[in-house]
């Protein structure tokens, strides 16, 4: 059956009733492909395209909120660099007009660019159901390829994060456009200058580099520690070899990406030569 609820409450009632046989459909840029290529058989589709209440973004002062149904296109012009840059590099314009932030996270691809950006902002995901609302740190949300901590009756409502002082994103793909990341990386600095670092396509989930972050917390950020952080990042990632790149290449790129982003974010860092 094809359901098209007009309110969030109707959507939640439907999902609670239909259970695992039903999937929420947002932009469809992953789900429709899986259905049409025969990789997924669906009994029921709950189309979220009428729930405009979930598509907006909010400036909450110290925090920002992005609704799950916000298309990537909206974020492209945001002043939060890590998110805007990641959004600009998802698919082509047609995909960015259609695909949503909630879908990017819910799909739980290890290579999800916007997922990595949100992780680098230390975002929390807002999960809603008829039972109530819970905020879960995004780093606890991703459990494996396509696997998340969402309950069967829950819907991703949106994402909240503290406004960073600076942030940046890096993507390495096989070509400049419409490419799945071979490695992608996001870094944000909070108002105290402490970094959050996340990488994509280097593990079974988008990955926070907590050890590398701890090193920088202790030692502070300067050209030398940025270099050392890159070395630590290469060790902390857990990449595999696949048809896009070898594990060794990914480790190397992960290190370069982290050093480069940290260097870029240092005071006056824009002028520092590329590593």
């Amino acid at each position: 059956m094809f359901y098209q609820p007009k309110t969030v409450e109707e959507a939640l009632e439907l999902k609670a009733r239909l259970g695992t046989a039903a999937r929420f459909l947002a932009g469809g840029t992953d789900l429709v492909v899986m259905m049409k290529k025969g990789r997924l058989t669906l009994e029921d589709v709950v189309d979220l395209s009428r729930l405009s209440e979930l598509s907006g973004t909010r400036d909450e002062g110290e925090t920002l909120y992005v609704g799950a149904l916000c298309p990537h296109r909206t974020l492209e012009s945001w002043p939060i660099q890590v998110l805007a840059s990641a959004a600009r590099q998802v698919g082509g314009p047609q995909i960015r007009n259609r695909g949503t932030v909630g879908g990017n996270v819910g799909t739980a691809s290890p290579a999800g660019d916007v997922s990595v950006a949100l992780l680098a902002l230390d975002a929390s995901v807002e999960l809603i159901s008829l039972r109530g609302t819970r905020m879960l740190p995004l780093r606890e949300f991703f459990l494996g390829v396509g696997k998340t901590a969402i309950a069967v009756d829950e819907l991703i409502a949106g994402f909240r994060f503290r406004r960073p002082s600076r942030s940046a994103f890096y993507k390495n793909g096989k070509r400049n456009s419409v490419a799945i990341s071979v490695v992608c990386a996001g870094v944000s600095l909070d108002t105290d200058g402490y970094p959050a670092i996340a990488l994509g396509s280097v593990a079974s989930t988008p990955l926070r580099l907590l050890k590398t972050e701890a090193f920088l917390r202790e030692r502070g950020l300067d050209p030398e520690t940025a270099l050392e952080a890159g070395r630590l990042a290469s060790e902390e990632v857990r990449p595999i070899t696949d048809h896009r790149a070898s594990a060794e290449y990914r480790r190397a790129v992960a290190g370069v990406a982290v050093t480069r982003l940290l260097t870029q974010l240092m005071p006056g860092g824009a002028h520092v030569a590329h590593v």
């Binding site: 109707e10 009994e43 082509g92 314009p93």
Partner: protein
Amino acid sequence: MSPMSSSLPPRGSQANDDERLPLAFALNGEAVDTRVHPLDTLLEVLREKLRLTGTKGACHEGECGSCTVLVDGVPMNSCLILAPQVHGAEIVTVEGLADGETLSAVQKAFIDCGAVQCGYCTPGLLIAAKSFLETCPNPTPEEVRQGMEGNICRCTGYMKVIDAVVEAAKAMPNPKGGRHDRA
């Protein structure tokens, strides 16, 4: 819940026309009132049900752009949209670009610049170009490359496509009046 969700056949049943999902939308300015299977894509409905075969399908995963249509003025891959999702929307396909016998500026420029080889990607490129020029009315070749990155031409005839989009921009009326003149 929308009335669309009532009286649907369970998946797997022999759906006859009466059981299919009602779907109404504007297509190239004309009202369409039809019935579809809930899991039909917009591309399938356009080509197979409404027989508008200008819009092409190729990769069916949002990589190539050949199925691009405008949904409420925004370019999207029609292969990734379930048809019931566009209930009430305004859809424009390549068939809707010309005004009667008069081709649009983008169509004319593609012909004048020889930007068509096998032609399979052309409908998607035309829609993408029309939309791109609305957001970037006076583009550089580099801006065309970036703005149209969602469309692939496997004849690799990109140079003439870029020429055509730049030429189309010059031929289009400037929103502020007069013609574009970029130094």
